[in-house]
Symmetry: C2
Subunit: 409 residues, 2 copies
């Protein structure tokens, strides 16, 4: 694989954003099973909310006119004709009459406001009102929150606690959501054996990328289909990759880093996508020898074999891609911790550097210490909480600088 | 309920942190089913990693001594005796011999370094070496990454992609993790009917808190047990709450906001916990009338009935509590977006204010616009992406200030 047209991280993001759209498979789910799913249609309210005018305080339901002029020294006297019970229909009041009403209680006909109990005094069958109220005061009117037929949730909304609460309030029991994108994973390499293998032969190592890439895909809300391991054989890789691609939205091939295996991956990806390669190499460290191609609305990645490189590439770009495929139209943010850099970090201009760091905390601040290590070494990764991005226009960072640490999860 | 000893947000956090510990139920899981679970024991490596010395480049395996003095003008000549294949045992080399080795290939006996292919030239059965290498150069030695018996993952670690990758590399197929904490939810109020109810009678509203609180619990990795709805009847609430508390680690009661129902909740919580109330009122808006109590290592919350108040309280304090119960010992961070405030926000000193905001973006910056609304109105919440916290010592925020918006998810 010749990395002649290496693209910047920014360019790759733009390519992903411009080239893909949400998957077109939708499903109807019960509202309570749809947490974190993405709405595939606009949702309109079938009714008004609240369904009846309610009191927002504990107090007395009144006709506001009956309280005009009332004050500390000159209370209004109203006839107490009963109590409104929660969950029950409120019987009407006439002029100069009142009923006790609890917070959330239904406002009776004839009343248009509520006087807070703090400004009243009960004397037998009479209630003294020490403060005047205007129409609508301390009342949430029927339909104040939502009108019938009103658009309440837009297509592309991720259903979180508040959205599900709104659907519950309106009695909407079913929603149409996008299915989760499916990510297929195929590890390649003659040296690889399954991670469940207890005894290794000389020259063999266990497959790491299947579980790490699957975990990242699940973190970003995708389903996973594991394709196992393929030997360094063009036909075998192509065959297994092609079968997997039929069933998934995103195919991840991760291969060795030797020249021969890189070429295999590149050729297979070309063959699979009819030569529709969008990216051949990214100016980022780690992860430069990454291939990205497209077939219909399906994405095919040729990821480096190094576990750390493959993880970082898919962690970064996979989030953006899966977000688009999922149908979400929401702003996305990363979890970040501001920290003080504990040592200098050298970096080459013209390339994005992702530097893994260990976070520690003293009384006031977080400190970020870069953890360098050959990218094949998994322990350098499990000791870190996140990474720092050094953009292409910068040459390194100095000790004592405040940095944004992008957290793993 | 008298809120005489209202506590600050900070005090409540400290009470939670000091009063609870991780749940003591553990389970053994397959490694691949343990994503985001928390390790309940230290994990030691059963073997070394990498299991054999490997090349980190494509090149020729050599005895470093044979390359001493080699340079552009004076190459060393080595006898090519074959090729090392990925995944296969490497046959030994003698002095002055070499074998081609791909990245990740096993270093043969007799070799202690690898010369990158860029610095070599093959001529029939001979390889010319144009650069000397030192012992260990371009080699990852067996055990360089992990020693046998080494502590690799500590109790309390959340298993994410990297940790699972490390377990895969070492052939560790099973892990002992904490079970998820279980959250029980009981909504109370005569006015409440199930959210699946199609037709409402006058005075009735659908239960919102069950789904919103369940969603938050799931977001923070807990299991949920729904207790349904109880009427405003002391014995009924106590009975249902008591049954639920037997089966859960965290019990959430959410009641109406009228004086009567608040008293019910308070009495029930007292009865359930033998009077062990830790918090009776929090100086925060929204959410002041919150009760928090403890029985053994179980937490009982009396949450306000207002959906928004209940959500915000459990979103904030529930994350901290569930994190402790889950056994996680990792640093936790919130997702934050820096944004410019588009208008003044008034706020009372001496109280924490949580102001919900809508985020928008222009070319360069995010803007945060406060969305005010009576806290019973669900639509004011679904239009927001997060909230701003105004601490007790501040009186409001001015338009144009940079604020940290804490995002919902």
């Amino acid at each position: 694989m010749k990395l002649l047209q290496v693209k910047s991280v920014e360019e790759v993001v733009k390519i992903i954003t411009d080239s893909f759209q949400e998957i077109n498979r939708v499903q109807e789910l019960k509202m309570e099973d749809s947490l974190f799913k993405v709405l595939a249609e606009d949702v309109y309210s079938p009714e008004i909310l609240p369904p009846f005018s309610r009191s927002s305080v504990d107090g007395y339901a009144v006709n506001a006119t009956d309280t005009y002029g009332a004050g500390e020294s000159l209370p209004a006297f109203l006839q107490l004709v009963g109590e409104i019970k929660m969950g029950e229909n409120a019987e009407k009041i006439n002029r100069s009459e009142t009923r006790y009403i609890p917070t959330g209680g239904m406002l009776p006909k004839g009343a248009d406001a509520v006087v807070m109990i703090e400004y009243t005094e009960k004397l037998g069958n009479q209630v003294m009102i020490y403060k005047q109220v205007g129409p609508g005061e301390n009342v949430i009117l029927a339909g104040d929150d939502v009108k019938e037929g009103e658009l309440i949730l837009k297509k592309g909304t991720v259903l979180k606690e508040a959205e599900l609460g709104a659907l519950a309030a309106l009695g909407i029991n079913n929603v149409t959501v996008y299915e989760k994108p499916v990510v297929g994973i195929l590890s390649t390499g003659n040296e690889l054996v399954s991670n469940t293998e207890k005894e290794l032969k000389n020259g063999q190592i266990r497959d790491i990328n299947s579980i790490t890439l699957a975990s990242i895909a699940k973190k970003y809300g995708a389903k996973v289909l594991l394709g196992g391991i393929a030997s360094d054989d063009f036909d075998e890789i192509l065959n297994k990759a092609s079968n997997l691609l039929d069933k998934v939205d995103v195919l991840l091939l991760s291969g060795g880093s030797s020249v021969g295996t890189l070429d295999f991956t590149s050729q297979v990806v070309k063959k699979l996508t009819g030569g529709n390669l969008l990216v051949e190499g990214i100016s980022v460290k780690p992860g430069k020898p990454t291939i990205f191609a497209k077939k219909d609305n399906k994405a095919v990645w040729g990821l480096p074999g190094h576990p750390v490189s493959a993880m970082m590439i898919f962690n970064y770009f996979g989030e953006i891609l899966l977000n688009i495929l999922s149908g979400s139209r929401e702003l996305k943010f990363k979890k970040i911790c501001k920290a003080l850099l504990t040592r200098n970090i050298p970096s080459s201009a013209g390339r994005t550097d992702w530097i893994r760091v260990r976070l520690t905390k003293d009384t006031n601040n977080y400190q970020a210490t870069p953890v360098f290590g050959k990218s094949g070494l998994i322990t350098t990764l499990i000791e870190t909480q996140g990474y720092i991005e050094i953009p292409p226009q910068k040459e390194g960072l100095e000790k004592g600088t405040w940095v944004d640490v992008i957290l793993w999860g």
